[in-house]
């Protein structure tokens, strides 16, 4: 049967139509054309989109599985150099961020009193006008530095944009709350570098961890887990040894080869004790210490004053008996740690929140870092590496007008009054004090960017009072939280799964990587990208601000930056199969270098594969000159010394009289050497006999993740606790207090008390009580609110006056059984 012409034409038309329709379908499916999905229920068309997880600073690459345009699962992106396909439990809860009944769906303006949580929905135009009016007002009044930004999440491009905006606007007050801890200050003082360096865990053979629970709550969790797996059980390589020094049997301590519990806050002493043994037994790297360090031996400055060296200090002050007395660690253990650390090289000494949560944090960190220098693990494989270079930028050069220049040059509001120490003395504590007193200048507009200080900080009343002093507070939160209810205006940001962004500031990586964040689905609510808000403000402000940020929308900016990556001809997009270790895949050429002719190809590949990676060239000069005054690693921090000496006398006097530095200063040179300071303790030891030790958990981090049922259900999955806080107590201690497992107890500090269930755990040190952070929300959605307790409610606001970190582990408490109620 032949086909006549008519039929042929008809069929042709159908086929044409079909072809065009087919294209339309795939478009429809990816564009989430709702009626189309309805018309094809259960088609099960699967698509994957790469993005980046923004729930913690880890920066894991993710792939989101979409079925019929509906996101159903987040998985790790195997091509991401950070996590290599793994994903921690929090990452899996990402969809519950996107789909959450507590999201803010539209800009809100406060109608009631502050903190009353009564709002009026307004349009974006109105909201932006309101915001812009305030920004303009500050510039018109020639006080742009009265703008303060508190940022809890921004990284990568978003942070770059914000910093750029603030510089062009003219304020130095950009405070990153998420980078509060662990501080990078010791690197500045001893290394001459401000940013956190890269840790070469891949090649290390020994990790001496001081209070760094890196398997649970510190560092990029998926990356650390991946490394742990590789380092511990990998045929063909030595099993890395891990010693965890921590008053709590944390996950890392459980998985470590050895857990050494010590008295809280005495990390510095233990590190110095270990150093003492190494020096006495001659176990340190003598060549390195001789050639590349400063201040190990006694020395004489150019004015002829003699100074004591680190060695002398060690030998005199930190003999094992004394250290053992301070730390409670048996002498044998100190010796054994010192010997095995020296034997298993390259090794690395790291510290974490356990250390920075004390008022003596800075000196403890310096003491621990000194161990790295003693074994020569500075800028050497398996040790601490130079921080990788930042990715290139596509932003035009910064343009600042006079006002902006003047404003940016003002001393930031978070610095200690009058103390012009460029590196030290920055702290939230000073920020609060300064806002409160209006000195040196008042803050008039504050932006809260995905941060919840009212929940995360001890003594929230202090923050609340500071907020009350600020006439206009804007929150960019996508969900209501304890801090946002104190704001005047809420400009809801997209969730990270609806956002364009580039992410590249993952701490501790020894390589540069850029991961693209692309919207998985169209924004579900009437929210707006914070970058777009800033860009439109820049546009409205005009002048130099607009010149610095000429882009009109954030997506364009992302593309510009990506183009800069492409044009730089550095790095490559990760693709194909990964080899296990960077070193090995460099040598084996396991990487596929993709060449892209045009930016469009590059862009497509970036969207498809997710990450761009640049591995730093192997250093030819094994130990380059550091940017310290001596050009070497400094045991005796000349940076610090000079800064201090340059201070006006009245400030010096203040420091001598009312800060913990005073003790050290009275001891002369010790103040600039790694040494042990007694940590501050709040609460009388007789009335409050127990130490409260709050700890972070992987599932909740700082508490932002609490409104996810998935994570609340597995909040204490290793302890069989769900949806609730638990207080870990040693069974022996509990017996003395007549507390049984599961009893309700009160934990009372000088600041207040909380009621929580006792959890007897042999891993708890006697005399301590451990509480998880991140629970106990009061205004944070239906899954998080009124579940568990917030240890911050009873913590005393204490801090390291030099390093600035909040000293969370300095509160003493008493425990007693709650009467049955």
């Amino acid at each position: 049967m032949g086909i006549n012409r008519r039929d042929f034409l008809k069929q042709g038309a159908f086929l044409l139509a079909a072809a065009s329709q087919a294209g339309w379908i795939s478009k429809a499916v990816t564009a989430q054309d709702e009626p189309m999905i309805e018309a094809y229920p259960g088609a099960g068309i699967e698509t994957w989109k790469c993005s980046v997880c923004r729930l913690c600073p880890g920066g894991c690459g993710i792939k989101v599985r979409l079925v019929d345009g509906r996101p159903v699962k987040i998985e790790g992106n195997p091509l991401s150099p950070v996590n290599r396909g793994g994903l921690c439990p929090a990452g899996h809860a990402g969809l519950q961020v996107l789909f959450n009944s507590d999201r803010i769906s539209t800009p809100l303006k406060r109608v009631g009193e502050r903190g009353e949580n009564r709002w009026e929905a307004i349009s974006w135009e109105e909201a932006l006008q309101l915001f812009y009016d305030y920004l303009l007002k500050l510039r018109n009044e020639k006080t742009p530095h009265h703008l303060l930004v508190l940022d809890g999440e921004s990284r990568g491009l978003q942070k770059r944009l914000l910093e750029r905006f603030l510089e062009a606007y003219g304020t130095p007050n950009y405070f990153n709350l998420s980078s509060q801890e662990p501080s990078s200050l010791p690197f500045l003082l001893m290394h001459g570098r401000k940013n956190t360096p890269g840790y070469d865990f891949q090649n290390t053979r020994f990790i001496l961890s001081f209070g760094n629970d890196f398997l649970d709550s510190e560092g990029p969790p998926s990356r650390m887990a991946y490394l742990f797996g590789e380092l511990r059980q990998n045929p063909g390589r030595n099993r890395v040894k891990i010693v965890q020094i921590d008053p709590r049997l944390s996950t890392t301590a459980v998985k470590a080869d050895r857990w050494i519990p010590l008295n809280p806050g005495t990390y510095g002493a233990l590190a110095l004790g270990v150093a003492h043994i190494m020096v006495v037994e001659g176990l340190y790297n003598k060549t390195f210490v001789e050639n590349h360090t400063f201040g190990f031996e006694d020395w004489v400055d150019n004015k002829g004053n003699s100074h004591i060296g680190f060695k002398t200090l060690l030998l005199k002050e930190y003999y094992p008996e004394k250290v053992s007395g301070i730390t409670g660690v048996p002498i044998d253990d100190i010796i054994r740690v010192a010997r095995s650390f020296a034997e298993n090289q390259p090794g690395i000494a790291i510290w974490g929140r356990g250390v920075t949560n004390h008022s003596n944090a800075l000196f403890s960190q310096m003491a621990i870092h000194a161990l790295n220098a003693l074994v020569g693990s500075i800028n050497s494989p398996g040790g601490i590496l130079e921080a990788p270079p930042e990715p290139p930028t596509g932003l035009p050069p910064l343009v600042q007008d006079k006002l902006a220049q003047w404003g940016s040059a003002q001393s930031p509001v978070f610095q200690y009054r009058g103390a012009k120490l460029p590196a030290t003395m920055e702290s939230l504590a000073y920020l609060l004090d300064n806002i409160q007193s209006g000195e040196p200048y008042p803050i008039e507009v504050a932006l809260l960017i995905h941060t919840n200080p009212l929940f995360e900080l001890p003594e929230k009343e202090r923050f609340q009072k500071a907020l009350e002093k600020i006439p206009f507070v804007v929150s960019f939160s996508s969900e209501m939280d304890e801090s946002s209810i104190w704001a005047d205006l809420i400009l809801p940001d997209h969730t990270y799964l609806e956002k364009w962004d580039l992410d590249y500031e993952v701490p501790q990586l020894p390589f540069t990587q850029v991961t693209i964040s692309q919207p998985i689905i169209q924004p579900r609510f009437n929210t707006r990208h914070i970058g777009d808000v800033i860009l439109s403000c820049a546009r409205l402000l005009g002048g130099s601000v607009q010149k610095s940020l000429p882009e009109t929308d954030y997506r364009g900016l992302v593309q510009k930056e990506a183009e800069a990556l492409f044009r730089s001809h550095r790095g490559f997009i990760t693709s194909g199969q990964f080899e296990d270790f960077f070193q090995s895949f460099l040598s084996r050429r396991g990487f596929k270098y993709q060449e892209f002719a045009t930016f469009e190809e590059f862009w497509e590949a970036l969207l498809k594969e997710g990450s761009w990676l640049e591995i730093p060239q192997p250093v030819s000069d094994l130990f380059p000159r550091l940017s310290t005054p001596s050009g070497k690693f400094e045991f005796f921090s000349q940076t610090f010394y000079h800064q201090y000496k340059a201070l006006p006398h009245h400030v010096q006097n203040v420091l001598k009289s009312d800060s913990p530095l005073s003790m050290a200063l009275s001891k002369g040179d010790q103040a600039f050497l790694p040494h042990f300071e007694e940590p501050n303790v709040n609460g009388d030891s007789i009335e409050y006999p127990y130490f409260l030790y709050p700890f972070s958990i992987l599932t909740l981090f700082d508490g932002k993740m609490a409104n996810r049922p998935l994570l609340m259900e597995m909040v204490g999955f290793r302890r069989n606790v769900q949806w609730d806080s638990w207080a870990e107590i040693n069974p022996e201690t509990a017996r003395e207090l007549n507390i049984r497992h599961g009893d309700w107890i009160w934990i009372e500090s000088p600041r207040g008390r909380v009621k929580v269930r006792a959890h007897l755990y042999p891993g708890a040190m006697p005399g301590m009580v451990y509480l998880p952070l991140g629970l106990g929300h009061t205004a944070s959605g239906k899954y998080a609110s009124q579940k568990g307790v917030n240890p911050n409610d009873i913590l005393v606001f204490d801090y390291d006056p030099l390093g600035g970190s909040i000293a969370r582990n300095s509160t003493r408490v008493k425990i007693y059984k709650a009467s049955v109620a």
Partner: protein, 172 residues
């Protein structure tokens, strides 16, 4: 007359039974009314390929009920408007989809894949949907009762299926 009392009980019981039975029988007759008097035969006769409308059956789990946008590609002419065509155009204009009533819907706990049956199993449409090609009215009820028994009856004879009783193939 004590027996009448018991008899009345029995009559009542039988009456109730009858009501229940008739209600179930009526309820089982679940014919539905479709919004448009769709004529499969006409479309087939006009050489419209199956996958023009049901465009997913070869590639995905679902067969795909065409959305109004698919219908309108052919039925947008306004010259010869039949009442049925007018309905399509109205739906399209209003931006609504045709409210087809689904007849063939696997329950939530059954996972059926059209493409596997069509592509690998070489099953013809009519095996489950009856003679579609000659049908001049829209479906108002299942032509073949799609119960598990029916699935099994087919699977039992097939060589390439190693175990027709593997429950988790379809229930997961």
């Amino acid at each position: 007359m004590k027996l009448t009392k018991s008899k009345s009980w029995i009559i009542l019981f039988i009456g109730l039974l009858l009501i229940v039975v008739s209600v179930t029988v009526i309820a089982r007759n679940d014919e539905v009314k479709q919004p448009i008097a769709f004529n499969h035969k006409k479309h087939v006769d006009n050489n419209v390929p199956c996958n023009f409308c049901h465009r997913l059956y070869e590639t995905t789990r679902a067969a795909g009920i065409p959305s109004v946008k698919v219908c309108i590609t052919c039925h947008e002419d306004v010259l010869y408007v039949t009442p049925e065509k007018a309905k399509i155009q109205t739906y399209y204009r209003e931006g609504k989809d045709i409210p087809w009533r689904r007849i063939y819907q696997a329950p939530d706990h059954v996972f059926f894949s059209h493409r596997l049956h069509i592509q690998k199993g070489q099953v013809e449409c009519k095996q489950c949907h009856g003679e579609v090609k000659t049908r001049i009215t829209p479906f108002t009820q299942q032509t073949v009762p799609l119960k598990m028994k029916y699935c099994i009856s087919c699977h039992e004879g097939v060589e390439s299926i190693d175990n027709p009783y593997e429950c988790i193939r379809c229930h997961h």
